[in-house]
C-alpha cells in the first residue's frame, strides 16, 4: 500500500492534475448556475456528454489520425471550439426548455431539481436511442463507439524536472488553465460578468439596477456550457472514446468538486477540481483503483464536516445566505 503510493507518487500527481483539470472545468458550470439560480443542474453532465460527441464528430470530419506535436494542439483547439459551441448552445436550449418555464411560474427549487433530472434522462436517452445511432451509425446497443479507428494521437513524453508527462496530459492541463483564466477575467472584468455577479448576489436589486435577468441566466448557461464543451474536447483527447452515459459519474464528481471548493465560488471550483483529482489518484494508488470513488466521496464528507461551506467558502453568493 504505502510502497505503491510512494512508487506511484509522481505519475499519480500528473494523472490527478489532468483529471482534476477536467473536473474543474466541469465544476465551473455547476457552480455558476448554482450561484445564479441556486439549482443543482443535473443535466450539466449530459451537456458535457453532448460536447464529447461534438468532439468526436469534428475529429471524424477532419479525418485526421496519428497527429502529434503542434498539429495535435491545433486539432484540440478546433474540437474545443466546435464542442464548446455545441455544448454552449445545448445548455442555452436546456435552460429555455426545462428551467425558464419553471422560473416564470415561481416553482420551488425541488421542482426545478426534478425537472433537471428529467432533462438529464431525456438528453441521455436521446443520444442513446436516436442520435448516436443516426449520426454515427453504430448499433443501438451499448452506445460505446470504436473511436480508436478514427482518431489516434501520437504520444510523446515531455520531461519536466524529474517528472515525465505525456503530451496529451500536458495539453489537458494547460488548456483548462487557459480557459479558467479567461473565465475569471470574463466574470470579474466585463459588463456581463458584473451582471452575473450582481444577479448571484441579489437578484431583486439587480433587476432594479437594470439587469436583464433572463439574459443573464441565459449567458450563465452559455458560459457554463462552453466550459463543459471544452472539458469534453479535452476529455476526448485524453481517453479517445465516449458513450451516452459518460457524463454521469464525471458530473457527480464535478459537482462534488464544486461543493468541495465552495459552491457558487468560481475559484473554489478550480481548487475543488484539482484537490479532488489529486486525492482520487493518490487514493487509488494507496487503496487500489476500485476504491477511488469511495475515497473521493469520503473526502467530501470529511471536508464538509470541518468546513461546512467548502474549502474557499461561497463568496459569489455570501450576501444571501
Amino acid at each position: 500500500m504505502l510502497d505503491d503510493f510512494i512508487n506511484q507518487f509522481w505519475p499519480s500527481t500528473v494523472d490527478g492534475l489532468s483529471l482534476g483539470a477536467i473536473y474543474a472545468l466541469l465544476a465551473l458550470g455547476y457552480t455558476m448556475v448554482y450561484g445564479v439560480l441556486r439549482l443543482i443542474n443535473f443535466a450539466h453532465a449530459d451537456i458535457f456528454m453532448v460536447g464529447t460527441f461534438a468532439a468526436l464528430w469534428t475529429v471524424r470530419s477532419l479525418g485526421v489520425s496519428d497527429v502529434g506535436g503542434i498539429a495535435l494542439v491545433g486539432v484540440v483547439a478546433l474540437t474545443g471550439l466546435v464542442a464548446g459551441a455545441v455544448a454552449g448552445g445545448g445548455a442555452m436550449l436546456l435552460e429555455m426548455g426545462a428551467y425558464r418555464p419553471l422560473r416564470k411560474r415561481g416553482a420551488s427549487r425541488l421542482a426545478a431539481l426534478i425537472s433537471a433530472i428529467g432533462a438529464s434522462i431525456f438528453i441521455q436517452q436521446l443520444f442513446g436511442t436516436v442520435i448516436i445511432h443516426r449520426v454515427f451509425g453504430t448499433s443501438k446497443e451499448g452506445g460505446k463507439l470504436p473511436v480508436n479507428e478514427h482518431f489516434k494521437k501520437l504520444q510523446t513524453v515531455v520531461d519536466v524536472g524529474p517528472i515525465q508527462i505525456t503530451n496529451d496530459k500536458l495539453i489537458v492541463f494547460l488548456g483548462s488553465i487557459l480557459m479558467m483564466i479567461a473565465l475569471d477575467q470574463f466574470v470579474n472584468r466585463t459588463k456581463l460578468g458584473r451582471g452575473i455577479r450582481s444577479t448571484a448576489q441579489d437578484p431583486e436589486t439587480a433587476v432594479l439596477m437594470g439587469v436583464n435577468i433572463d439574459r443573464i441566466v441565459s449567458m450563465t448557461f452559455l458560459v457554463g456550457g462552453i466550459m463543459a464543451g471544452v472539458a469534453a474536447a479535452l476529455y476526448f483527447l485524453r481517453f479517445e472514446q465516449t458513450n451516452y452515459f459518460v457524463g454521469f459519474l464525471l458530473g457527480i464528481k464535478a459537482f462534488t468538486a464544486a461543493v468541495l471548493g465552495g459552491i457558487g465560488n468560481i475559484r473554489g471550483a478550480l481548487v475543488g477540481g484539482f484537490v479532488l483529482g489529486l486525492l482520487e489518484m493518490y487514493g487509488s494508488s494507496f487503496f487500489g483503483s476500485e476504491w477511488r470513488d469511495v475515497v473521493a466521496f469520503s473526502v467530501l464528507i470529511l471536508v464538509l464536516m470541518f468546513r461546512p461551506t467548502g474549502i474557499l467558502g461561497e463568496s459569489l453568493q455570501q450576501a444571501r445566505a
Binding site: S108, R109, L110, I252
Partner: protein, 383 residues
C-alpha cells in the same frame, strides 16, 4: 414569481372541484373517514385482479408481479423518503443507500447465518435506521444542497463498497436469498396470500400492502404530533425553529432514521422476492426516481406521494411497447409535469399555500423576483 394574473387563474381553474373535496374532507365526521379508509383498503386488496391488470399492464406482462416488484416497493420507499424530504424538508439524494442496507442485511444474514425473513426484517430495520443516524450525525448540520451532495456521495459509497467487497461477492451480488416462510396455506379467491414462493407474486404484494398501511399509520400519527409540527417548523425556517426551542438537530436525525428504516424494510422485501441482489439494483437512478415520485405527487402529502410513486413506477412499465423510447419520453414527461404542476399532482393544502408564496420549504429559485402575483398569493394564504 413573474406570474401574470391570467396564468395564475388558469392554474387554479381545474383545481376547484378538488378543493371542494378537500374542504369536505377537512370537516368530515369520523365514520365517513373510516368508510373511505376501508374502501381504499378494499381497492388495494383488489388491485392485482385480472380485470384491472388487462388495462394497467401491457399485453404479455404480469400485472401482479409488476405491482409487487416495482410499484408497491416504490410507493413504500416514497413514503419513507417523504418523511425526510416532504416533512422535514431535508434534501436526500442518496435514499437508495438505506434500501441497499436493508437488502444486503437480509442477503448476508439469511444466506450466511440462516436467519429467517422475519428476524432479518427486524435487524434490517435497525441497521438501516442506524445507517441513517451514522450518516446524519456528522452531516445534518449542513444546510440544503450540501446535505444533498453528501447524501448522494453516501449512496455511491454504499454501492461501491458492496461492489468491491468479496464478502458479498462484489459485482456478482448475492444469490439464493430465501423467500419468507409460508405462514399458512389457506386460500381465498384462488390466492394463497400467505404462501410465499417463486410462482405467485401476489402474496408479496399483500405483504407490501401491509407494510405500506403500517407505514402510513405510523407516519401520519407522527406528522400530526409534536414531532410533525417540529418538522414543519424546521422545513419552513430552521433558525426560527431553533430560537423557539425546537431541538432541530434531534428532530432532523429522527426524520433521517425513520425514513431510513422504512427504506430498509423495502429493501428486505425486494431482496427476498427477487432471491438475488446485485450492486446495480441500488443505482443513483433509483434515488432520483423515488425523489421524482415524491415531488411529482406533492411532497409532504401522503396520498399525493403515493400517487406520484405509482406514476413514476408504472409509466415506464406500462409503455414497454415503446421499447427504447420509453425512458426518453419519461424524461420529457418529468420536465413537462414540473412545468405544468410545479406543486405536484396532489399537494396538501398547507404546502400549496407555501408554494404559492414561493417559499415552499426549500425556497424558490435564485434569480426570481417577486411580481404582482405575490400579494395575491399572500392573501390566499390568509383565507
Amino acid at each position: 414569481m413573474n406570474l401574470s394574473k391570467n396564468a395564475e387563474g388558469a392554474r387554479r381553474g381545474p383545481g376547484l372541484s378538488l378543493d371542494a373535496l378537500r374542504h369536505w374532507w377537512a370537516g368530515a365526521p369520523g365514520w365517513a373517514r373510516w368508510v373511505v379508509y376501508l374502501l381504499l383498503i378494499v381497492v388495494g386488496v383488489l388491485l392485482p385482479s385480472e380485470s384491472i391488470g388487462s388495462f394497467m399492464a401491457p399485453s404479455g406482462a404480469d400485472w401482479p408481479s409488476m405491482l409487487s416488484s416495482q410499484i408497491a416497493i416504490y410507493v413504500l420507499l416514497a413514503l419513507g423518503l417523504n418523511v425526510v424530504v416532504g416533512m422535514a424538508g431535508l434534501l436526500d439524494l442518496g435514499y437508495v443507500a438505506f434500501y441497499a442496507v436493508g437488502g444486503y442485511t437480509i442477503a448476508i444474514f439469511a444466506t450466511k447465518y440462516d436467519w429467517s425473513f422475519w428476524q432479518t426484517l427486524v435487524l434490517a430495520i435497525a441497521f438501516s435506521a442506524l445507517a441513517g443516524v451514522i450518516l446524519g450525525a456528522p452531516t445534518l448540520r449542513l444546510r440544503g444542497d450540501y446535505l444533498a451532495i453528501v447524501t448522494l456521495g453516501f449512496g455511491e459509497i454504499v454501492k461501491k463498497t458492496a461492489n468491491n467487497s468479496s464478502y458479498v461477492n462484489g459485482p456478482r451480488g448475492v444469490q439464493g436469498i430465501p423467500h419468507p416462510p409460508t405462514l399458512s396455506e389457506f386460500e381465498i379467491g384462488g390466492v394463497q396470500p400467505l404462501k410465499y414462493g417463486l410462482l405467485d407474486s401476489r402474496p408479496y404484494y399483500y405483504l407490501l400492502l401491509a407494510f405500506i398501511i403500517v407505514a402510513i399509520i405510523f407516519v401520519r400519527r407522527l406528522d400530526k404530533s409534536r414531532v410533525g409540527r417540529a418538522w414543519a417548523s424546521i422545513r419552513e425556517d430552521e433558525d426560527a425553529a431553533e430560537l423557539m426551542g425546537v431541538p432541530t438537530f434531534k428532530f432532523k436525525l429522527a426524520a433521517f432514521a425513520i425514513g431510513a428504516a422504512i427504506g430498509g424494510s423495502g429493501g428486505v422485501v425486494f431482496a427476498s422476492q427477487q432471491t438475488s441482489i446485485t450492486p446495480p439494483n441500488f443505482d443513483f437512478l433509483v434515488s432520483a426516481l423515488i425523489l421524482a415520485g415524491v415531488v411529482l405527487g406533492g411532497s409532504g402529502n401522503i396520498p399525493g406521494v403515493m400517487l406520484g410513486a405509482f406514476v413514476v413506477a408504472w409509466l415506464p412499465e406500462r409503455f414497454r411497447g415503446l421499447q427504447d423510447y420509453r425512458m426518453l419520453i419519461f424524461g420529457a414527461v418529468l420536465v413537462l409535469m414540473m412545468i405544468f404542476r410545479p406543486e405536484g399532482l396532489w399537494p396538501s393544502r398547507q404546502r400549496k399555500a407555501e408554494l404559492a408564496e414561493g417559499t415552499g420549504g426549500m425556497g424558490g429559485l435564485g434569480a426570481e423576483v417577486p411580481g404582482p402575483g405575490q400579494a395575491e398569493a399572500a392573501a390566499e394564504v390568509g383565507k
